[in-house]
């Protein structure tokens, strides 16, 4: 983390709704996310909190029933002539987005490697496609590069695997191929949408290490979409906690893990399985996320929040600044709010974790 790194992707006040048979679902309600060059941001939240939709918007992959009501996604890059350019990805026509941004500058790794490869095409061809599209490479050069990438992502016997079809590879191998595809046209930004959710636990760590390794080698900026705080702790520089289409807490990874301010983040951290706890029951946040078909009044989390204040029912809390990098949207941070600390068990737990980490430093 050098001083004042340059912002490469800047999502401002993003607001998206979906038209469904049941009515209009207001899925993204004013999201701000910053990604700086070379850094890793993790977007954390429960299913349906809008993590994926936000990043799909940046890729131009939103379903046809989605409407972007407002906001911008500013992407800053250096063009072929060495000039710095900033474009709003949301304003770009789809065709231009595909030709100039997707794959070439911003690439994506999807959640389920079992379904994200074309079953009728060899993996070699699928990796080379991006190079033909964006780099105008010759067949030979593309093939050489594809085999190089297969080696890079740790696929043994790359020459032979090049001619394999997806069904001939295991899940972990397929995810490596998907990563190789994402890297095929040298992107600046890699978006990983729950890249390890569908994989074996033993494979998860390896895939994460692989992505981190490649990030260093290729100087990528990475966005992780995940609900797994273990993944976050391992990879992220900054964390955005998302709830019901809003960012409820932002901070660097230490701030989120050791000094969380939002009751929702407390809940998420408490819900992580932990071997050292005396409690023999796994905590889970009561209730389920609100249905955004009927937009909640006040704080969307209030109904599930044991620390909710009266004002939570009436008004949505703004983001209160905690430190230079740390913000949280909870009325508990208002100067007039009663002093409420995070639950005792969680405090103990974070303390234990901190000591654990210090042992290794």
């Amino acid at each position: 983390m050098s001083e004042a790194p340059k912002t490469i992707l800047d999502i401002r006040n993003l607001d998206i709704s979906f038209k469904t048979n049941a009515g209009i679902v207001h899925a993204i309600r004013g999201v701000n996310i910053d990604l700086c060059k070379g850094e890793t941001v993790a977007i954390v939240g429960e299913s349906g909190s809008g993590k994926s939709v936000t990043m799909k918007a940046a890729m131009g992959l939103l379903d046809s029933n989605a409407t972007v009501n407002s906001g911008e996604i500013l992407y800053t890059y250096t063009d072929d002539h060495g000039r710095e350019q900033t474009v709003d990805l949301l304003k770009m026509p789809k065709k231009q987005l595909r030709q100039q941004i997707n794959g070439q500058r911003i690439a994506m790794v999807f959640q389920d490697p079992m379904t994200s490869l074309d079953p009728t095409m060899t993996i070699g061809k699928q990796i080379m496609e991006g190079m033909f599209l964006h780099k105008n490479m010759s067949r030979e050069a593309a093939k050489a590069r594809a085999i190089e990438l297969l080696n890079l992502v740790g696929i043994p016997d790359a020459e032979k695997r090049f001619r394999n079809y997806p069904h001939q590879l295991s899940g972990g191998m397929r995810q490596r191929v998907v990563i190789a595809i994402a890297l095929s046209a040298d992107p600046d930004i890699l978006i990983c949408d729950e890249p390890t959710t569908a994989l074996d636990v033993t494979i998860q760590a390896r895939i994460l290490e692989l992505i981190m390794d490649i990030q260093k080698k290729m100087k990528l900026s990475v966005i992780y979409i995940t609900h797994d705080l273990g993944v976050v702790a391992k990879v992220a520089d900054y964390v955005d906690v998302m709830y019901a289409g809003k960012i409820v807490e932002v901070g660097n990874v230490n701030e989120i893990f050791y000094e969380p301010k939002h009751p929702y983040t407390w809940g998420l951290l408490s819900a992580m399985p932990d071997l050292d706890t005396e409690d023999d029951r796994l905590y889970s946040i009561p209730g389920s996320p609100p249905n955004l078909l009927h937009e909640p009044k006040g704080d969307a989390f209030a109904a599930r929040n044991q620390f909710a204040l009266a004002i939570d029912e009436k008004a949505d809390p703004p983001l209160f600044q905690v430190s230079r990098t740390h913000f949280a949207a909870t009325w508990l941070l208002h100067p007039d709010a009663p002093k409420i600390e995070m639950p005792r068990e969680l405090q103990d737990r974070l303390e234990r974790a901190r000591k654990e980490v210090e042992k290794y430093l």
Partner: protein
């Protein structure tokens, strides 16, 4: 691969033999006489039966019949077209049916694919709705109703095409039956293509291709069509057989001397013509088995997941 094809061919021939035997038995169990019995005395019939060896044990008859068939001799009609060898009559019928059926298949498949693709690319818009309505109509209304409608419109109201089939003006007079036969195939193919494509468009691998930067025609040609076509091949196979073997009613109404009409005549004529029914039965079965074999092999070409593993290359 070669070994697999040989195995499948062997199985196909065995299947055909079993079907032929069953047909051979069934024809003899059917009520009725193989001869135009109203015009013959009991004595004449008995003589005729003896002459044709119909009183021999069934197995002897079958072996004799198969021996002839293997030499390409399907015998002569017992009540139909007295005297002419079945092969000659059948080859004219096959040529008529296959030519008209072939045109119908080609027309149905090509237009069906075009309609389906158009509908899928315009999902939820007017063209999609139009194609859906068209397919439902095409599937629900029998081909002979279309035939009568086309006959009425383009032969009677606007006297352009001939009323009935005319072998001397083959191409011209086969337009109406070919078009009416093709509508069912067209609608089925259109509906399947549309649904398969819409499904593939929603798939993760198309998302990934888009994330790679693919769009438009390139995306459809390289990732969508091939995956969508695999199930369509399965649907197409039985349709092809149906059309090649001629539509019974359409051939009858339009007066085409095809296999469909021949089959009707062989069963509903003055007697049940054993030899014609058998020959046609073998033809239908052979076609069906043959086309299914082709489809299975084609599957391997289209879909690498079903490709026959050679030399344990799997995994």
């Amino acid at each position: 691969m070669g070994k697999y094809v040989c195995k499948r061919l062997g199985m196909a021939l065995l299947t055909l033999l079993i079907i032929t035997f069953l047909l051979f038995l069934l024809v003899r169990i059917m009520p009725g006489n193989p001869f135009p019995s109203e015009r013959m005395s009991a004595e004449q019939i008995a003589n005729k039966r003896a002459e044709m060896g119909l009183d021999d044990p069934i197995l002897t008859q079958f072996i004799r019949y198969m021996g002839n068939v293997l030499q390409g001799d399907f015998g002569k009609g017992t009540s139909l077209y007295n005297g002419a060898p079945i092969r000659t009559v059948l080859s004219t019928a096959i040529s008529n049916s296959f030519r008209i059926g072939g045109v119908a298949i080609l027309l149905g498949t090509l237009v069906g694919l075009a309609l389906g693709i158009t509908a899928a690319l315009n999902k939820g818009r007017f063209l999609d709705g139009f194609c859906t309505v068209f397919s439902i109509l095409g599937v629900c209304v029998p081909s002979y109703v279309f035939l009568i409608f086309l006959q009425y419109t383009f032969s009677f109201r606007i006297p352009f095409f001939p009323y009935f089939f005319d072998p001397t003006r083959f191409a011209f007079s086969s337009v109406i039956p070919a078009v009416s036969l093709s509508l069912f195939t067209m609608s089925t193919i259109a509906r399947f293509t549309r649904n398969e494509m819409v499904e593939v468009f929603d798939s993760d691998y198309v998302r990934l291709a888009e994330a790679k930067g693919m769009y438009g025609r390139n995306l459809v040609m390289k990732h969508v069509l091939r995956n969508a076509l695999i199930p369509i091949v399965t649907v197409l196979a039985p349709l092809v057989v149906d059309l090649l073997t001629g539509a019974l009613v359409v051939e009858k109404i339009y007066g085409i001397n095809g296999i469909g009409k021949l089959m009707v005549d062989a069963i509903a004529g003055e007697g049940i013509d054993y030899n014609y029914v058998l020959a046609l039965g073998i033809l239908y079965s052979a076609l069906y088995i043959g086309i299914m074999l082709v489809v299975d092999l084609l599957y391997g070409v289209l879909d690498p997941r079903i490709r026959v593993a050679s030399k344990g290359e799997e995994a």
